[in-house]
Subunit: 185 residues, 2 copies
DNA sequence: CATTATTATGCAACAAGGTGCATAATGTGC
DNA sequence: GCACATTATGCACCTTGTTGCATAATAATG
């Protein structure tokens, strides 16, 4: 149920097309919410039908119109209602951690590769977030309420990526010192 | 697709009933994988039908039989095949972070409550993990491969909870110094 | 002794998310 | 000039997860 509110939020901030929203989910909102373009278009159509959004057709020379979505008054109050309730925490479901419970069936070389992939990903994320931090939030204390809240979301991404990397460092040490004999107790 | 492998993993470690598996998801596997009892029973039935699991009927005086599930050879090789592939990272979808993009529509008092709830939850988790750490893993270097890998999963829970709390501390400072005027730029 | 919690199992309907495929235009590189 | 990437939109089907409901026994609590 929350995808619709992520869309309403994003469109309240700045009207956009389905394509642009998909891009935002891949970049600025990457550590906040994810959705495929198919999911975005489907939900936008539904929200429009429910009159929580309305469409502005953008003419393009020699191309079909672009559809830019805006929130309606009903859309904003639906969003406000949702914002007013405490939302349940997302459930954790991490296949990498599941693997750690496979005991003797787990191949350490594969695990190592998977940890390396996560490390690479986390480092890339962290670097990306740091660039945004220094470019857009060099002095967060001077920002408006609006941007200070968004900065908090960015900080969350940074702290999560750092926590990942700290854990990965521990994991690497563990793997290096691991007796390759299974042996239960 | 990963629920089935979480179940196969758990049952490879220790045969169990649907009920017991549900309990494990709520406790020992809380930071690893989540599933409701309905989902667990449904998937167990499916896995049994596909002959990846088999059932042992446990007689109980004056009660219907308990059904304890075991992995089959086919089950173990299906699990091994899954373990051999690098699994994609779970997508992040956090309604709390979505709210930070709602700008002027967001009520700070509600946000504060939500942060407090997360703090309480994270503290409780951390305390729980720490007890397990000190009870079951007082000297991780001496443990078998099997338990050292499980210890890694626990460490992940601990580092995540700590990262949450660090972020919450930052968030509280931000909220306290926030100009309550919206004002975009 | 009635009520509630815990153990133990499941079905049915629905919502949310993922996968595959399709189309159409422009721009880019070889 | 042809293949591929990017911008831009969507449908249909399938899997996964959630919600509501149901049953039945024992244990604990007042």
């Amino acid at each position: 149920m929350a995808l619709r509110y992520a869309l309403l939020c994003a469109l309240h901030e700045q009207p956009a097309t389905g394509y642009e929203l998909t891009q935002r989910f891949k970049t600025r909102l990457a550590n906040v919410w994810n959705a495929s373009h198919q999911q975005v278009y489907r939900e936008l159509a539904k929200l429009q039908q429910e009159k929580l959004l309305l469409v502005e057709a953008i003419e393009q020379p020699n191309k079909p119109d672009k559809k830019r979505y805006h929130t309606t008054l009903a859309g904003r109050s639906a969003l406000e209602h949702w914002l007013g309730q405490i939302q349940p925490r997302p459930a954790t479901r991490d296949p990498l951690l599941v693997k750690l419970f496979a005991g003797d069936l787990l191949d350490l070389a594969v695990l190592h590769n998977e940890l390396e992939a996560l490390k690479k990903e986390s480092l890339a994320q962290l670097e990306y977030y740091r660039v945004i931090e220094q470019t857009y939030f060099p002095n967060p204390g001077t920002l408006s309420r609006h941007y200070r809240l968004q900065y908090l979301a960015l900080r969350r991404g940074i702290l999560s990526a750092e926590a990942n990397l700290n854990w990965l460092a521990e994991a690497e040490v563990t793997l290096q010192n691991l007796p390759n004999v299974p042996g239960r107790p």
